[in-house]
Structure formats: C-alpha cells, structure tokens
C-alpha cells in the first residue's frame, strides 16, 4: 500500500559528477604512471626493425622474448658478452645479507634508543640523521681507505658493510619512530618479569615490529638493489651488481642501439624490486599505517 507513501524525496543518486571526475582523475593518473612501464615492456618485446619505425606505443607484432634472453645472458659490454645474469646473482649476494643486517641493526638501534634511552642517545640519533643528508660522493675516498685497511675493499663483505652503514640512518629512524609509539608499559612489564636487554628485544619487541620490518626491508631492498655508485666503487670487479652491468650494456652500443635489449635489461634489473612491490605492496602500506614514518 505504501510504496507511494514511502517514496518521498529524491533517492540519492549513486553516480554523481564528482564521482565521474574522481575516476577520470584516477584513470589519467594510471596513464601517467603506467605509461613508462608499458613502453618498456612492449619495446623489450619488439624486433629492432619495429623499433626503427619509431612508434613507441605500437604493440609488438608478436611476443618476442629474444631480447630478454639476450639481455639476461648474451648482451655485450666490451669484450664480455654475459648479459646481466652474473650481476643479478651478485646483486642477490649483496642485497640479501645487507638488508638482513641493516634491518637487524636498525631495529636494535631503534629499540635501544627508544626504550633504554642511554646516555648520548639523542646525540647519536641526531648525528645519524645528519649523516643521512650528506652526499655519498664525499664518503668514497675515506671509506675506501678504511675498508682497504680492513682488507675488505673490493670484497663481498666490504660492499655489504658499506650498504649496512649507509642504510642505518633510515632504518634506525623507522624503528625508533615505531617503538616510541608502543606503550612503555610493555617494556616495564618485561623488566619486572626479569627479561634483559636482548631478551626483551628478541622475544617481545621484534615479534611486535613485523609491519615495520616489512617496511624497512622493502625500503632497504630497493635502495640497495638500485644502488649504482657504491657498487661501482666498493664491490670490486668480481662482485659488480646488476646496475653496474646494466650501465655497461645500456651505455655501450655497437652500431644500432638495441633498444629492445636495453629495455629488457632495464626491466630485468628492476624486476625484483618491482615484484616485491607488486606482491607485498599491501604489507608496505600496512606497515606505514602502523606508524613507520612519522614527523
């Protein structure tokens, strides 16, 4: 009986102008952000002839993965034609321990600074933050001297150490800011339970900081994986990371520039961090929301 009666006033419209504008904005942003990736992918799949036609948005005629294969194991830099494969494994060997170590050390720093407040902690933190603002270039010579003195120059442990040292400020910042948001009572309760410095860290604080570990590890991973300068200077000829080899391939050309191989090599180099962001972006966002980066 009451349909006429109940029907009163305009029902809210679901699709408004604002909504359309919103999606229009988002879609245009999708184009802006995705375009470079799209171009890289399609170019890497083209044949040199297709590339010469200078239509960067044209889709490749077929799925031609030969450029990828060549970039992986055949592309030449100088007399060596080994692609980026060796660099890939070097990068893995550098990045994995460097990330693990720097995150551990950074977490430890953040924990010690926020809960234990040892003497000089504030100064240490301030100096660490100041260090983060210095251009890397000026560290090179002295660091080289120090590492050479330790017989670590041009070795795998050496380059790992360098990354750990330069990663410390950011990771420490992340963890300190996270730990200060945790209730101090937790720490007090553990003290009453008789747990000491390491025990509280290992059994209570670390398990609680998983979101932050994810954020720190992702930031460090991309930072270290993408590094060029430190790898170039400290890694030594046997451990050159992927980025250096990418540079060698992209910046040397024989005759016609092989854009498809360049792009494939570029993609290969970016693949691991990209995969990490595509697969665990959600965790990254969650970790940030859990308080990683504040003031």
């Amino acid at each position: 009986m009451s349909s006429a009666l109940l029907q009163s006033g305009p029902a809210p419209r679901k699709i408004t102008i604002g909504r359309i504008g919103l999606y229009a904005f988002l879609l245009s942003m999708v184009v802006f952000f995705a375009l470079p990736l799209f171009v890289m992918v399609i170019t890497s799949l083209k044949t040199p002839e297709e590339i010469r036609m200078a239509r960067i948005f044209a889709l490749p005629a077929g799925l031609n993965f030969s450029a990828w294969a060549e970039a992986w194991s055949g592309a030449c830099a100088g007399t060596a034609c080994n692609g980026v494969e060796a660099g890939f494994w070097n990068s893995v060997k550098i990045t994995v321990p460097a990330v693990a170590l720097s995150v551990t050390l950074g977490a430890l720093n953040g924990y010690a600074l926020s809960f234990w407040r040892p003497r000089g902690g504030k100064i240490l933190f301030a100096l660490l933050m100041a260090g983060a603002l210095v251009p890397y270039q000026i560290f090179l010579y002295p660091m080289v001297r120090v590492l050479a003195g330790l017989s670590l120059y041009n070795t795998l442990p050496g380059i790992v150490l360098v990354h750990v040292l330069f990663g410390l400020p950011l990771v420490t910042l992340l963890f300190r800011n996270y730990f200060v948001t945790l209730p101090i009572e937790l720490f007090k309760a553990a003290r009453i339970d008789g747990a000491g410095f390491w025990r509280i860290f290992g059994e209570i604080m670390l398990p609680m900081s998983v979101p932050m570990i994810v954020v720190a590890a992702m930031l460090q991973f991309t930072g270290i994986w993408n590094d060029f300068l430190l790898g170039l200077v400290f890694a030594g000829p046997d451990n050159l990371p992927m980025t250096v080899q990418l540079n060698n391939i992209v910046n040397t050309t024989t005759g016609t520039r092989q854009y498809n191989v360049d792009m494939a090599a570029t993609m290969l180099t970016a693949l691991v961090p990209l995969a990490i962001y595509f697969l665990s972006g959600r965790w990254f966002v969650r970790g940030i929301a859990a308080g990683a980066v504040k003031g």
């Binding site: 100088g78 010579y141 170039l232 250096v244």
Partner: protein
C-alpha cells in the same frame, strides 16, 4: 712460477673499441699472459672506480690512459712503473713520431706504452646522402660547407649528425678553431695560453662559425652519444658527422666501405690534424709477477703486427712509423701521410690539465646550448680559461 697476469682497466666497451682491445689481448695471451678485463662504461664511472682502487692501494695492473696530462699526477706521485727500459730495448725513440715520444715521456722518462693515435679533425659524410642532395665533393671551406648543409636541409635530411655532449662539441669547436688560427696558433693557445691570439678576432670568428652549426642540428641532438650520431649517418638520416676516427669503426661494423659508402674528409679549412693518443699506464702493484706482465704488455701493445690490427679495428693509426700501412683503410693512410708531413697537432687533453679540459668543455657546451650567446662575450670567457 707466477703467471703473467694482468688486470686491464679500460673504458673501451663499444664494438670497435672492444675488438681493438681483443687484438692486444690475443697477442698477449699467445705470449703467455693471462688477461683479465675490468671495463666500466662511461669515463666518469670508470674514473671513479679506478681512482678509488688507487686510493685503496689496490690498483689494476694496466690502466688505459690518454697520453699527456691525464696521467701526470699518478706518475708524479710515484704510482706508476717506468717503461724506460722497455722503450730503450725496443728502440721506441726511433720508431715513433717525436710528438708521440714526447707525449709518453714525463720529465725525460717514458711511462706510457702508446697503443693508438686518433686523428680527430674528421668530417665523415654519407656519400649516398650527399649524392641525393646533389653534392659532389666534400666542402673545404666553411662557406661551402654551410651551402652544402642548406642543400641537405632542403633534401629533408638532418644536415649534421650532432652528438650533443659537451666533450664531443669541444672537439668540433677545436676543428673550427684550428681552421681559424692555424696549427701554430692552436699550439700556442693550448700550450702557452698565448694572450695575443686569445684576444684576436679569430676566436670571435671561430665562435661565430661554431654557433652557426646550431642551425643544422636536429632537436634530438642534446645528450646524444657519438655512436648514435654515427648511426644516423650510417642510416642515411643525416649528412655529416664531425668526429674522431674511432667513428670509422662504427661504419665498418655496419659493413660500409670508406670512399664508396662514406667519405672521410678533413673538417673544412683544416690546416692540420688534431690528434689524441691512448696508451697503457703501468700501475705500481708491488707484485713482481704483475710487473713482469706489464713489461710483456708494453711490448705486445707496441708490436708492429698488433699495432696494425689494433688500428684497423679501432679506426686509429699506429703509433709506430715503421709499420706496413697497406692493410689500413684510405682514411688512416691519409692521416699517416699527414703525420709524416708533421701536420699533427695535439689535442687540448694532451697539453692542458684535466681541470682546464673540464672548463673548456663546460664553456663549449654552454655556448652551443645557448643560441643567444654572443660570440664576442664568449671569446672573453674562452680566453679567461687560460688566464687563471
């Protein structure tokens, strides 16, 4: 017994360069050496890696180095091994042009093993493109050159394949400069900073001509690599390229023949050939095995047969005057004959410090990038580099 192992640090990574190095490598290995390549693309990157290794006390055995001022400080600091004994034993003083022998000697002692000389005042051009535009032969004056370029423009091709990096532009600038001040003037500027020439009209004229080149350059030029520019000529997209003879390597690699597919002419109004030369610097490693390898390397690199093979691959000319030039291409032969006539002038990198080289490069790069730059003002800036 220790192997004769040498780690060779070069920034030669492109096709022709790589093949040239391979020629030395082959001979070195045949004679019992063990060759290990460390190559980093790009001068800045290679330098950064190399210098840091020196600082760390862990230098490579052999360092590719430009003859002249580039290696001076390393030698003065006692970081390099002398090659005087090798030079004496192999009689370098007699088999090499005096200009070269001077350039490898520092305070009377030989330190560098020269491996190749590059003539730099070349103008490479695409013969089919010239033909299509109705140009019959390479221009020898700037006026003729600009007239030809207008023809190319009208024909719808990019007149000049321009590598828009400052170091390349500096080389073109030198070609124009040489045409305006002559060989002696050029030497006076770059060795003594001769005030009279620096303040003469010739410099302004040089800059005017150099500035006019901007009109014949495509908009993709800034930042372009030299080999990409060469490729434009190879592909017939552009008419000419001013570049050192290493560009020949690209032409050859593309299967083009000198004199039929592409021409190598001296840059317009050139009075001589500007050259630059590469050599091997033998770093002090403190390791006797590597010292021995260095001696072997010096001998191999200057070996006549290797010299020819190297020059062929790289497009350069041999450092020795006593080699058989028959195997070389016509461009190289043309250059060799100029060398014999004493028309070779060393490039600025051989005679002025890297610091000044940098300033010159900046100057040229800025001038070319700015169409509004006033040649008269710019001439002042140019002179200022030498007045410091």
């Amino acid at each position: 017994q220790d192997t004769l192992k040498a780690e060779v640090f070069t920034s030669w990574t492109s096709g022709g360069e790589a093949r040239a190095v391979a020629a030395i490598r082959e001979a070195f290995e045949t004679r019992g050496g063990v060759w290990e390549t460390s190559s980093i693309a790009g001068f800045e990157n290679a330098n950064a890696a190399f210098q840091n290794r020196v600082v760390a006390g862990n230098p490579p055995t052999v360092r590719q180095s430009v003859l002249g001022m580039d290696a001076r400080e390393l030698i003065e600091m006692g970081l390099a091994n002398s090659l005087q004994a090798v030079a004496d034993a192999n009689n370098w003083r007699d088999v090499m042009a005096p200009a070269i022998y001077d350039a490898i000697s520092y305070d009377g002692e030989v330190y560098l093993a020269p491996v190749g000389i590059h003539g730099q005042s070349w103008m490479f051009y695409s013969m089919p493109v010239f033909e299509a535009a109705g140009i019959t032969e390479a221009p020898t004056t700037w006026e003729a050159f600009f007239a030809d370029m207008d023809l190319l423009k009208a024909a719808g091709v990019t007149p000049i394949a321009w590598g828009g990096q400052a170091w390349q532009e500096a080389k073109v600038f030198n070609m124009v400069l040489l045409s305006q001040v002559g060989n002696d003037g050029f030497m006076k500027i770059y060795t003594e900073g001769d005030e009279e020439i620096l303040s003469s009209d010739a410099i302004v004229k040089t800059l005017e001509i150099f500035g006019r080149l901007r009109d014949y350059v495509d908009e993709g030029a800034p930042g372009r690599n030299w080999n990409d520019a060469t490729n434009m000529v190879i592909q017939g997209q552009a008419g000419v390229q001013f570049m050192g003879d290493w560009a020949k390597g690209e032409f050859f690699a593309a299967g083009l023949a000198a004199g039929t597919d592409f021409g190598c002419a001296l840059s317009p109004a050139a009075t001589g050939m500007i050259f630059i030369a590469d050599g091997f610097l033998m770093m002090k490693t403190g390791d006797p095995a590597q010292d021995a390898a260095q001696v072997l390397m010096a001998e191999v690199a200057t070996d006549p047969a290797v010299q020819v093979a190297f020059a062929q691959a790289k497009g350069s000319i041999p450092v020795r005057t006593d080699v058989d030039t028959a195997a070389l291409d016509i461009c190289a032969q043309k250059a060799m004959s100029m060398m014999d006539e004493g028309l070779f002038v060393p490039e600025h990198a051989i005679t002025i410090s890297p610091d000044m080289v940098g300033q010159l490069t900046d100057f040229v790069g800025d001038f070319f990038a700015n169409p509004d730059a006033d040649p008269a003002d710019a001439a002042q800036q140019f002179a200022d580099i030498f007045r410091r």
